[in-house]
């Protein structure tokens, strides 16, 4: 049977590939992603399931699912021109993705699907750093984290649990890593940007609080505090925290191997491994 072997929390700042190209392998971003890349390789994953918030590129305001999964043998990226990110084709496992969707719907989560799709920086930037060969199949699972109403944190956690049950019921002996992509406090293009930046961190205290709760393994407390109001107070993409919460639901309540903050960006790099 397939089994979940690790959880990762990743940022996806679209300018990071440019910064690393410009600043080289010793810059902070390169080192933080480099450490995660080593941890990921050690897990020998056969599949990555990534919880992610699409930035109105795969979906749009004409048809915007709260939950959706990508089902195809591969998908293209990026579809939003992040600087210094090449065009990739990422392999996927459509039969397993369809199985996850069916299991989630049976469990009470009405998950939309997309086929013949492309994804934006929020999926491909972390993969650009972590799996640049694009040999490991990836199933993207989309959670609406930008456009209110946001799904509730406890529902996203329980969704993660349902996805885990589906993965563990899959007959092939796959090693599966679950990722959550996104920030804890960030405003992009809105009034709470910092001066002379395209973004800002409106609520660094909340980002620090999230990281503390992750470190202390107080997931119930994190879920209780992650209300829609609290996440939106943290920025117009603050709901991306839901992707981390779904990942936590999938891996179970565990102590992180580490959570490395990057407070100037309101996010962190998290790794959960066991065994």
């Amino acid at each position: 049977m397939a089994k979940i072997v690790a959880g990762f929390g990743v940022p996806h700042t679209p300018i990071f590939p440019h910064f690393v190209k410009r600043d080289g392998p010793d810059c902070e971003i390169a080192k933080l992603f480099g450490a995660q890349k080593e941890q990921l390789a050690a897990m020998r994953p056969d599949l990555i399931v990534m919880f992610d918030t699409d930035h109105l590129n795969t979906f749009f305001l004409d048809a915007l699912p709260i939950f959706a999964i990508g089902i195809d043998k591969s998908f293209r990226a990026p579809n939003d021109e992040p600087r210094d990110v090449p065009n990739y084709v990422v392999p996927s496992l459509p039969a397993l993705a369809a199985h996850i969707r069916a299991a989630a719907v049976t469990a009470g989560y009405d998950v939309a699907m997309t086929q013949h799709f492309s994804v934006d920086h929020s999926v491909i930037v972390p993969l650009h750093f972590l799996t640049p060969d694009m040999k490991i199949p990836v199933v993207p699972f989309f959670i609406s984290g930008h456009v209110p109403p946001l799904p509730k944190a406890e529902r996203c956690y329980a969704l993660g649990q349902a996805v885990a049950r589906a993965i563990e019921a899959w007959p092939e002996p796959l090693r599966v890593v679950v990722m959550g992509s996104g920030s804890f406090s960030l405003e992009v293009g809105g009034p709470r940007m910092a001066a002379s930046r395209a973004d800002g961190v409106p609520d660094p205290d909340w980002a620090a609080r999230v990281i503390k709760l992750l470190d202390d393994q107080k997931i119930d407390q994190l879920i209780a505090e992650s209300t829609q109001h609290r996440m939106l107070k943290a920025g117009n993409v603050g709901g991306e925290l839901l992707n981390w919460i779904a990942m936590l639901g999938a891996i179970g309540n565990r102590k992180p191997t580490y959570v490395a903050p990057q407070m100037q960006n309101g996010h962190a790099y998290g790794v959960w491994t066991w065994n």
């Binding site: 930035h55 109105l56 590129n57 749009f60 305001l61 004409d62 579809n79 939003d80 021109e81 930008h146 456009v147 405003e187 992009v188 293009g189 809105g190 009034p191 709470r192 940007m193 001066a195 002379s196 930046r197 395209a198 409106p202 109001h229 939106l232 107070k233 920025g235 117009n236 993409v237």
Partner: protein, 95 residues
Amino acid sequence: MSIFAVNYLCREVLRDHAFRAAMKADPATALAPLELSDEERRCLLAGDVGQLYRMGANGFLMNYLARFEVCGLNAEIYNQRMRAVKVDEIGQPVA
């Protein structure tokens, strides 16, 4: 809900390179065939992203207007105009 048209055209500036070029060359002509209210059209042509935000346009999407420097916008002008919008603690515009 015609503000949808504003949000939509912002994303088209990203996705449709011909439309992006047309918006850079002559925004009034590029916007002419689109179904926009008079106020939306005036704000777009003036690069008044603050007023468009107050009208419900999406900040993340409007950022493409700055990124691709259309309607007289660039990153700094966009930043100043957007930051001038008064908002409550969850980012909703207030009078």
